[in-house]
Amino acid sequence: MTAQPFVLQILNALAALLLLLSFAMLAQRRVVTLVNLLALQGAVLCAATLLLAWRTGEAHLYFSAALTLCLKVAFLPWLLHRLIRRLGVYWDTDTLLDTTGTMLVGLLVVVFAFGLAQPISALASTATRSAVGIAVAVILLAFLTMITRRKAMSQVVGFLSMENGLFFGAMSATYGMPMIVELGVALDVLVAMLVLGVFFFQIREQFDSLDLEHLQSLKEDR
């Protein structure tokens, strides 16, 4: 096995960092830290994108990196922090599954994701194709995060983390989607977050809390 170029080694390290951050988010219960982790994940993503852009010379990857920087590193964490301060949600009281259990499930999910990514990596022609597995793992771990949280805010963070995973997947496997799509996606994420902001205030106005416990009245099991 020949040694990979240094850039790729860095890229792989960044990918591993992404995975680690996902795990950290899965374990973290403080909402503020969770948002910070998200921002960090965005930053790592941004760095990876930049690096890749530099290596491949794809112009639109620079653009993507800029988009990521603005949106995921700066704007969204800022927005979320602001919301946290305004709404006073700092703790996600407790997760539905204890941390160790969650971690174990997470580990299994990672194994599964890596297995899943095999055929994709085999097909992809990019230098970073081996990182696709990481992207899948990030997506699934984010999913898991959302499942195990009780606060609306943490779920949103999980949701955004999933978006990060998607982005990373697209980037590592194909050097990003066509521009028009990427713009559209970014726009959607932005709008989604704005809508969320509105939402949070509405929810809080009604329930005095962002605890999902209150959002369980519509059900069949009465």
């Binding site: 599964f112 899943l116 699934l140 959302m146 499942i147 959002l215 369980q216 069949e220």
Partner: protein, 668 residues
């Protein structure tokens, strides 16, 4: 496209469309009773009459086809008119002529659906029944079939403010729908691998015996549910009383026959040659249904429920006949098969006339007294002689008494049963003749039931004040009743003219032929060389002659004095109306004899009770044993599913996650 306007098929189509148009015309002035009653319903009756005539001509005419430019793109609606269709179209036309005429005078304004809407639903109901009879492909058949169910449902729930009626309507449509599902499945089996859903394709399909058996079973379930075959009969005694009387008359008189038509169409036309022993299922179910129906009829206290159960009994007889025809057909006794089939057809015609007549009669009673409960009626023969005497004709006919029509078809069926020992299989050839005994028993029981019905409603003294100021039917209503009653008489007196016409159906379906025999025109000899004969015209003339002669002789020889006195009653004297037998009392021997049939709840007073009350509630064991647990089962499954949906978003996400993982694992 329209081949020949004069042909029975196009005439029938045109008349059915005319019904639809008449119905739609009702919406022009939806609130006008006069417009609907005096103009549209008589028009509908005229159409019915014309349809009956066209169909009568059509029985002798060759089979006609037509493809209509509507329906599914790959399956345009086919219509076809053969002798079988024509016989049932004839039933539809003739019966509806009487019922529509009656209906013209019957419907009153008041609560419930506005007259115009009623007119639409009524005529749609008629037209859809006609289309069922003409349809020659599965899609067209199903469309017409369900339209029939739907329009009749709306008619049943005309008085929708009454909770009971709504429940009856719901049960009715539900059962109809479940039946329709079975019919659809039946067609799915019948196409036999060609995946063509025209009846022509089904006719030419070669089915393996197991598949054909499944098809027959499904048909039995589907058409049985509509016809009221036990244990699928539960809707019938609920829905028929709930509907306005002309509608009950049509449902019982015609719609049940349409179900019988479907069964015949599948069994003898589409299915080709069913195996003989499949016929045993309809026979046994039919016999059980007949007994069950009539026994329950005897126990009823509501006059329309009583008639509804009597319909169940007649459906049982019809299915017995169908089964018998299948058996004979299968074992290669074409003449006997034809005889059984003719008996079925004859009974269908008869039952249409007599049951409509009776339902219409109860309609007048209901209108003028507001009572359906037998326990509160009585003595109406004095107040409404027209209705009483015409209903008496129907009563005697349905009790299976000669010389009226009900007897003829039962006679034919018994004749067919008599030769069941020719079936070359032990057990079967012993059991089938015993079945004839059951048919006889149900026939005799219906005599019992009908005496109860007529006696309690029309004879004796009014049991409650409400029955006292009753008035007779109006002229249009009388016309309708008279038409149906004369049908009963004519069908009873001229069987020798009618049987050959019906036998054409058996011949065209290749079931068998009734060979012509040298009997004179007034005598019915169904089977050549068996010498059983029946000449109702002769002996009824004789009876009339003897009666007249007796009256004359008595007048001649003795004086004519009649004194009107108080009833003697063994000198008891203090007679009042409440000492007559009630409906419960009259039914008591049957309840006693057939106790295992009923799920009875009795409240008996103790000997020292100061205000004794006797109450008996009669339930249907089949309902308790099959339907109630089924409902509970569905509810339990629903509860189990509901437990999945607890409202927590996390669990919803988890479902998504698991789904994703499982599917991914699946493709990996």
């Amino acid at each position: 496209m329209i081949a020949n306007l004069g042909s029975p098929l196009s005439a029938a189509l045109a008349l059915l469309c005319a019904w639809v148009v008449i119905g739609l015309a009702g919406l022009l002035r939806p609130m006008s009773l006069v417009f609907a009653g005096r103009t549209l319903f008589p028009l509908g009756a005229a159409c019915g009459l014309a349809l009956a005539l066209a169909a009568l001509l059509g029985i002798a005419a060759p089979t006609a086809h037509l493809t209509l430019p509507i329906g599914l793109p790959d399956l345009p609606m086919h219509v076809r008119c053969d002798a079988l269709s024509c016989v049932f179209l004839c039933i539809l036309g003739a019966t509806s002529a009487g019922v529509s005429l009656f209906g013209a005078g019957y419907f009153r304004s008041g609560q419930g659906a506005p007259p115009g809407l009623l007119c639409l639903q009524y005529h749609l109901f008629l037209a859809s029944m006609g289309f069922v009879l003409l349809a020659d492909d599965a899609y067209g058949f199903m469309v017409a079939w369900e339209t029939m169910a739907l329009s009749s449902y709306f008619l049943v729930t005309t008085q929708h403010r009454i909770e009971e009626i709504r429940r009856a309507g719901f049960l009715y449509l539900l059962m109809a729908h479940l039946g329709a599902i079975a019919i659809l499945l039946c067609f799915g089996v019948l196409q036999g691998g060609s995946w063509q859903f025209s009846f022509d394709a089904m006719r030419s399909a070669q089915l393996s015996p197991p598949r054909a058996g499944v098809a027959l079973l499904l048909a039995l379930v589907g058409f049985g549910a509509k016809a009221g075959l036990v244990p699928l009969h539960v809707w019938l005694p609920e829905a028929h009383p709930a509907a306005p009387s002309p509608v009950s008359a049509l449902m019982s008189g015609v719609m049940l026959k349409v179900a019988v038509y479907g069964m015949l169409r599948v069994a003898f036309d589409l299915l080709g040659g069913p195996l003989w022993w499949w016929g045993l299922l309809p026979v046994s179910l039919g016999l059980f249904t007949a007994l069950y129906g009539i026994v329950f009829a005897a126990a009823q206290t509501d006059m329309k429920r009583l008639l509804a159960y009597s319909s169940v009994k007649n459906i049982g007889i019809l299915f017995t006949g169908i089964g018998l025809a299948i058996v004979f057909h299968g074992v290669g006794r074409p003449q006997l098969a034809a005889l059984a089939l003719v008996a079925v057809l004859y009974h269908s015609v008869n039952h249409a006339f007599m049951k409509s007549l009776l339902f219409l009669g109860t309609g007048v009673v209901l209108h003028s007294t507001g009572e359906r409960n037998l326990g509160r009626l009585g003595g109406l023969i004095h107040r409404m002689p027209w209705v009483a005497w015409l209903t008496l004709v129907g009563t005697l006919a349905i009790a299976g008494l000669p010389p009226l029509n009900g007897f003829v078809s039962e006679w034919l069926l018994l004749q067919a049963f008599l030769f069941a020992f020719e079936v070359p299989h032990t057990f079967v050839n012993m059991l089938l003749p015993l079945g004839a005994g059951l048919v006889a028993l149900t026939g005799a029981l219906s005599g019992y039931v009908m005496v109860k019905f007529f006696g309690v409603v029309f004879l004796g003294k009014p049991r409650e004040a409400a029955a006292a100021p009753a008035h007779d039917a109006g002229s249009l209503e009388r016309g309708g009743l008279l038409w149906l009653a004369s049908g009963c008489v004519i069908l009873g007196l001229l069987p020798a003219q009618i049987v050959p016409v019906l036998a054409r159906v058996a011949e065209q379906l290749h079931v068998g032929r009734l060979l012509p025999n040298g009997a004179p025109w007034w005598m019915l000899v169904p089977l050549q060389g068996r010498q059983a004969s029946y000449a109702p015209l002769v002996f009824s003339c004789a009876v009339v002659a003897v009666v007249l002669l007796t009256i004359w002789v008595v007048r001649l020889l003795y004086h004519q004095r009649i004194r009107r006195v108080a009833p003697w009653d063994c000198g008891f004297g203090r007679l009042d109306a409440r000492m007559q037998d009630t409906a419960e009392g009259f039914g008591q021997p049957i309840r006693h004899l057939f106790e295992p049939f009923f799920a009875m709840q009795r409240q008996l007073p103790s000997p020292f009770d100061p205000a004794p009350r006797y109450r008996v509630v009669i339930g249907d064991r089949i309902w308790n044993a099959a339907y109630a647990p089924l409902g509970a089962l569905v509810q339990r499954i629903a509860d189990a599913f509901a437990a999945l949906q607890q409202g927590r978003i996390a669990s919803y996400l988890l479902y998504g996650f698991i789904t994703l993982i499982v599917l991914l694992a699946l493709v990996l």
